[in-house]
Point group: C2
């Protein structure tokens, strides 16, 4: 009973702060709004997290530790390149539906504060590209895929999967779709993106 629904105040605050910070950013967020969302008193935020900045950093770390394993699917998994691409493309959509503001939040705050990434590097599970580099080199040598730089391929995989969600208002505006049609378009991407990438690199 004590672990199912009995969240501590600290956890309730963090959860509320995640929602507000991810939607409004550090500068746009208001401590009062976070307190309201958490259903507690504003001074509790300072009691538990001392300052807005420190609460924000807790949220950012938490968000990054959710995104990192996603990227590691591509980088550290043991399956073939082709399977990795298929799995990541399918899984990422599921992930993003649960955390819609997360990638644009991380990317925006990293742009405003690029040195944040250095703190993240110290965390365990920070994405590392070395294994992926070896794998790509190997598959190029085998002849299963065309010659391509592993870094460029990784960027391409990220770009094709992440960008449509970050830029969705712009895309919806230009393509001229309502929400329902756009949702279908995204649904189609679960397979289309993987096919696109595989076509591009397969021999």
């Amino acid at each position: 009973m004590s672990k199912t629904k009995n969240h501590t105040t600290e956890e309730i605050i963090l959860e509320a702060a995640k929602k507000i910070f991810q939607k409004k950013g550090l500068d746009g967020a208001r401590m009062q709004e976070i307190a309201d969302k958490a259903g507690i008193n504003k001074s509790m935020l300072h009691y538990y997290y001392r300052s807005k900045q420190m609460l924000f950093e807790a949220v950012f770390n938490n968000a990054f530790s959710l995104l990192a394993p996603q990227l590691n699917t591509v980088l550290n998994d043991d399956s073939s390149i082709e399977d990795k691409i298929k799995n990541f493309t399918k899984d990422y959509i599921t992930f993003i539906i649960k955390h819609p503001y997360l990638p644009s939040f991380i990317i925006h705050e990293l742009n405003r504060n690029p040195e944040f990434i250095n703190k993240m590097k110290e965390q365990i599970g920070f994405p590392n590209i070395d294994k992926f580099k070896n794998q790509v080199a190997l598959e190029v040598e085998n002849g299963t895929i065309k010659p391509i730089d592993a870094q460029q391929l990784f960027i391409n995989i990220m770009a094709l999967n992440i960008f449509p969600f970050i830029a969705s208002p712009l895309i919806q505006g230009i393509i001229g779709l309502d929400k329902k049609s756009f949702k279908q378009l995204i649904e189609d991407r679960k397979t289309q993106v993987a096919d696109f990438i595989i076509n591009a690199i397969k021999n």
Copy 2:
């Protein structure tokens, strides 16, 4: 003499506001900082633009009217799909070097304020995908390219070109490159991205 270097105060303000807003966003920007950058008094900002919000909207419109023609290269140009992809990929890098914060600025502010896109639609030159749809359908029928949805292809082209700049701190962190190596990576993309897309769709 009067048109070469003699900018009006209004233009000087807009130019300074562009730099500050694009780097810091609406919430992060300070009117005092804009005034300092422009080298004029803070009250002048209000004299010419009435409020922070209105100054911001002038900046946003201006930024969007710079990005739109870039996207129209892909959508409205008369060349073949293959040439469009090559040209856009090459030109976009040049564009982004001149306006490094512009796309992430537009995308971030559209996320915070999705209805902005509706105001943009009323401007002339707002990107329209109709011509591109016909062209893709035609080239698919001709057999020059594989069957693909024009909307998906357009998203892919944007994603591969725009994302690396928006997410550059994240990418640099994961790939572990210094600024110089990253610059070279981007330089390589001028041709690599076009090749990647063309491989993916070419029959």
